[in-house]
C-alpha cells in the first residue's frame, strides 16, 4: 500500500519562480517610473497605468476566451505594459496606448502560444507597429522644463541635423533624463540603477547589455572619432532601456552566454547603422526586433559542447 507521495528527483527547488523574476523586473523599472513622473509629469503615470491595465486585462480576457489557465499572476503582462508605456511619448492619446498594449499581449505574445513561446519582444513590436500607425503622435516629443507641452526634437533628431532641431542638452541633463524622448527611456541614472538591480539579483546576465552598449560606443567612436559624442549616443534614445530591459527578455533572446554576446553586438551594430545612415533617428527597437528573429539560430550555433561528448 502506497501511502507516501512519490516523484522523480530532485525533491527540492530553489525559491525563484516566473513570478519572482517578473516581480524583480517590475522593481527594477520603479526608478525609471519615478524619474518619468518627475520629468514629464503625472501624465507619465497615467499612460503607464493604462498600458499595464490594458495589458493585464487583455491577457486575462484572451485566456478566458480560449479557456487557457490564467497567467496574469506571473506578472509578465504587467512587465510588458510598463515596458510599452516607457517606449511611448508622454502625450500619446490613451486609446492609442491601449491599442499598443492589446497588440503586444494578444497579437505578439498570446497568438504565438503565450509566455515563453513568442519569438519577438511584445513591447518592442507593438511600439514599432504604433510608430508606423500613429507616426505623428508617436514622434510628438515633449521637452521637459520647457513651457507647457512644447513639442520639440529628441537629441538624436538634433544630432541627425533634421530641420527644426534645437540645441542639444548637456551630458548632465542627458544623464538625469532632462531631454525629449519616450517617457521611460530618458533617465540614464534610473535605468542604470534598475539594470544593476537585475544584475545583482541575477535576473539578467551582463553579456547582452555590455555587448550592446559597448558595440554602440565603439562603433560610433570609429565613425565619429569623438568620445564625448559616443557617450552621448549611449545616453540617447532607448539604448539603455533597450540594452537592460528589452534585449535581455528571456524567450526572445539566446540562452547561452556567447549567444547573448552575439545578440548584443548585433543589436549594437544595427542600432548605429540606423542612427547614422538610416532614415529613422533611432534604431534600438528595430535592432532588437531583427535580432529576435535570429535568436533561434544564434542559440543553436552557440550551444555548448557536452562535457565528454563524442561526435556521433
Amino acid at each position: 500500500m502506497s501511502t507516501m507521495k512519490v516523484s522523480v528527483s530532485p525533491h527540492v527547488k530553489d525559491s525563484t519562480s516566473t513570478t519572482t523574476i517578473m516581480r524583480d523586473v517590475l522593481i527594477a523599472l520603479c526608478p525609471a517610473l519615478v524619474a518619468s513622473a518627475l520629468i514629464f509629469g503625472a501624465r507619465a503615470l497615467l499612460v503607464t497605468a493604462v498600458c499595464v491595465a490594458v495589458a493585464v486585462g487583455s491577457e486575462w480576457a484572451y485566456e478566458k476566451l480560449v479557456k487557457k489557465p490564467s497567467t496574469t499572476g506571473d506578472l509578465s503582462a504587467a512587465v510588458t505594459g510598463v515596458l510599452l508605456a516607457f517606449n511611448l511619448p508622454v502625450g500619446i492619446p490613451l486609446w492609442q496606448a491601449a491599442f499598443g498594449s492589446i497588440t503586444a499581449v494578444i497579437v505578439v505574445k498570446q497568438l504565438f502560444g503565450g509566455i515563453g513561446q513568442n519569438f519577438a519582444n511584445p513591447a518592442i513590436t507593438a511600439r514599432i507597429i504604433m510608430l508606423l500607425a500613429f507616426s505623428s503622435t508617436m514622434t510628438a516629443w515633449v521637452i521637459p522644463g520647457a513651457a507647457d507641452a512644447v513639442s520639440g526634437a529628441t537629441p538624436l533628431v538634433i544630432l541627425k541635423g533634421v530641420e527644426g532641431g534645437g540645441t542639444l542638452p548637456s551630458l548632465t541633463q542627458m544623464f538625469l533624463g532632462l531631454r525629449g524622448g519616450c517617457l521611460g527611456e530618458t533617465s540614464a541614472i534610473a535605468l542604470l540603477l534598475g539594470g544593476a538591480y537585475l544584475l545583482v539579483r541575477r535576473v539578467i546576465s551582463w553579456h547582452t547589455p555590455v555587448a550592446f552598449i559597448g558595440t554602440v560606443f565603439l562603433f560610433t567612436l570609429a565613425v565619429g572619432g569623438n568620445v564625448q559624442n559616443s557617450v552621448y549616443e549611449i545616453l540617447s534614445g532607448g539604448l539603455l532601456i533597450g540594452a537592460f530591459f528589452m534585449a535581455t527578455d528571456y524567450s526572445t533572446t539566446p540562452n547561452t552566454d556567447w549567444g547573448r554576446i552575439i545578440f548584443g553586438v548585433g543589436c549594437g551594430l544595427i542600432t548605429v547603422l540606423i542612427r547614422v545612415w538610416g532614415s529613422y533617428p533611432e534604431g534600438v527597437s528595430f535592432s532588437i526586433l531583427l535580432m529576435n528573429i535570429l535568436t533561434p539560430y544564434i542559440a543553436k550555433a552557440t550551444r555548448k559542447k557536452p562535457f565528454g561528448g563524442v561526435a556521433a
Partner: protein
C-alpha cells in the same frame, strides 16, 4: 588552473547531523534483505526457510561477475523468501529473517589471508562491499584491473555534496583509521602511486583530520573542493581533482582514474582487518518531518520505519520519504522499505516540503543551461522530447545526463526536467536500437541478393 569550470548549483547544505556520532539501533524483530542492492545480477539465496543464521553469515552468493554476495547482519531464523517490490519498480527475491536479539556472531570470522593481488581481489569479492556512495557498483569489479599501470590515481570521494547526508562525514571522522588502512591496501596490492582524498570545503574537520595524516612523499594528498553540488559526481570529481574528462562511453579507468567512496573504502578495510563483511550501514535520518535527526547504525534489511522511530518519530505527518538526498534520492512508497547496502540516508518531509510546485510554461530563461555540469541544454532536450525527435536527442547528448537535478532545481517554471531526461533517454535508446536493427536488416537483404547473383 583548468580551462573550464563545471557548473552546478548552490543548494542549502542542511548538514544538521554532521556533529552527531552515529548511534546503534536496537535490533528490530524482522529484517528483510533484498537480493538486488547493487548494480548487476541479483544475488542467489543460499539459505532456506527455517535455517538459523548468525551475524556475518553468507545468505546469498553473487549471481555473476557483476554482482555481490550478501551476508546477514542479525542472528535469527529465516522466516520467508519471497518477492519484494523495489523502488525501481522491479520485483526481486528478498530474505526475511526473524531476529532473536542475541546478535550471535558466526564462529570462525577471521581476517582473510591475502598475499597476492589475486587473493586480494577474491577477498574484495567476498566482502560484499559495493559502491556505498549510492551507485552500488560492486567494488570487486571496479578493482579488477588488467594492467595495474593503467591506474594513475585513485580518488577517494569524500565530497558528500547532497544536502542533509552526513554519513560519509562521520566515516571520515570516526573511521579515519579504516580509511587509511584502506589506502595502505590500495598502495600494497594495486601499487597506486597517487591517492587523492577529495573533500568539500564545508567539512573543515574532515579536511583537518586527513591533512594531518598526509606525509611528504606518502603518495596521498587531500584536496579541498568548493562546496558546490554535484561535486561528488564521479565525472565531476575526476575533472576537479586530476583535470581529466571521461569521454562518452568510456570508464574512469580509461583516463587513469578509479573513484572510491570513502565509506566504501572503510568497509573494505574493515573486512580485511576483521573478516566481518558488509552487514550494517551508518544512515543519516533527517528531514523536516523528523523529530530528532540522528546518524544511526542499522543492520542491512532493517525497515526504515524503525530508524524514524529511533529518532523520536515524526513531529509532523510525513508525506514524502526518500532513500538518499533530496537532489537525487529515490522516493519510497511506504515506510516498510529496508535499509540497503547503498542507503546513506533516509529523509522524511512534511507536507510543505513534499508538495510538488505547480508546473508553468517554460520562459526560456536558460537557467537550466547555465546550471548543467555537463553543458547539456535541458530546455532543448525537453522540446525535442515533446516533439518526439530522437534524432535531435542524439545530437543533444541526453545520454550523458547523470540526472543530478541541477536543471530542475533552478527552473523557475518548475518543469520536471529530470523526469523528461529519463524518458528522453529511453526514447533515444529505442530509436538507436531500431536504427541498428534496420541497418542490419538491409545488410542481410543485400547479402542475400549477392548470393543469388
Amino acid at each position: 588552473m583548468f580551462s573550464k569550470k563545471l557548473h552546478g548549483v548552490h543548494v542549502p547544505h542542511r548538514k544538521n547531523t554532521a556533529g552527531l556520532k552515529p548511534e546503534r539501533l536496537p535490533v528490530t524483530p524482522f529484517v528483510t534483505i533484498p537480493m538486488a542492492m547493487h548494480i548487476g545480477a541479483p544475488a542467489k539465496p543460499v539459505v532456506s526457510v527455517g535455517d538459523e543464521v548468525k551475524v556475518g553469515q553468507l545468505i546469498a552468493e553473487a549471481g555473476g561477475f557483476v554482482s555481490s554476495p550478501i551476508y546477514s547482519g542479525v542472528s535469527g531464523k529465516v522466516k520467508k523468501i519471497d518477492n519484494l517490490l523495489m523502488s525501481s519498480g522491479q520485483f526481486v527475491p528478498a530474505v526475511t529473517i526473524e531476529t532473536d536479539g542475541l546478535q550471535a556472531v558466526l564462529e570462525g570470522i577471521v581476517p582473510p589471508k591475502a598475499e597476492t593481488l589475486q587473493e586480494f581481489g577474491d577477498a574484495v569479492r567476498r566482502s560484499g562491499v559495493v559502491g556505498l556512495g549510492g551507485a552500488g557498483f560492486p567494488t570487486a569489479v571496479k578493482l579488477t584491473v588488467k594492467e595495474l599501470s593503467a591506474i594513475e590515481a585513485v580518488i577517494i570521494n569524500g565530497a558528500e555534496c547532497e544536502p542533509y547526508i552526513t554519513s560519509d562525514t562521520r566515516t571520515m571522522i570516526d573511521d579515519a583509521e579504516l580509511i587509511w588502512d584502506g589506502i595502505a591496501l590500495l598502495q600494497k596490492y594495486l601499487q597506486v602511486k597517487r591517492i587523492i582524498i577529495g573533500i568539500e570545503n564545508n567539512k573543515p574537520e574532515c579536511l583537518n583530520i586527513h591533512r594531518k595524516k598526509c606525509v611528504p612523499g606518502g603518495g596521498v594528498e587531500v584536496k579541498a573542493l568548493p562546496a558546490m553540488y554535484p561535486q561528488g559526481a564521479e565525472k565531476v570529481l575526476i575533472y576537479n581533482t586530476i583535470g581529466r574528462v571521461v569521454p562518452e562511453g568510456k570508464l574512469p579507468l580509461d583516463v587513469g582514474a578509479v573513484v572510491l567512496n570513502c565509506t566504501t573504502l572503510a568497509a573494505l578495510a574493515r573486512y580485511m582487518k576483521t573478516g566481518m563483511p558488509l552487514v550494517e550501514k551508518c544512515v543519516t535520518v533527517d528531514g523536516s518531518a523528523v523529530q530528532t535527526p540522528k546518524n544511526v547504525i542499522a543492520p542491512i534489511g532493517t525497515p526504515v520505519k524503525a530508524l524514524f522511530d529511533f529518532c523520536g518519530g515524526f513531529k509532523s505527518e510525513p508525506q514524502k520519504v526518500l532513500y538518499g538526498g533530496p537532489m537525487m534520492g529515490l522516493a519510497l512508497p511506504d515506510l516498510d522499505a529496508p535499509v540497503l547496502k547503498n542507503t546513506n540516508a533516509v529523509l522524511a518531509f512534511n507536507e510543505k516540503d513534499a508538495g510538488l510546485p505547480k508546473e508553468t510554461n517554460c520562459i526560456r530563461c536558460g537557467r537550466c543551461v547555465g546550471a548543467c555540469p555537463f553543458s547539456l541544454a535541458p530546455v532543448d532536450i525537453e522540446t525535442a522530447f515533446r516533439q518526439a525527435k530522437p534524432e535531435e536527442l542524439e545530437i543533444l547528448k541526453v545520454n550523458l545526463c547523470m540526472e543530478c537535478g541541477c536543471c530542475a532545481y533552478v527552473c523557475p517554471a518548475n518543469r520536471p526536467l529530470v523526469q523528461v531526461n529519463k524518458l528522453a533517454k529511453v526514447m533515444l535508446r529505442d530509436y538507436q536500437a531500431a536504427q541498428k536493427a534496420a541497418a542490419e536488416m538491409l545488410k542481410a537483404r543485400d547479402a542475400k541478393k549477392e548470393e543469388k547473383k
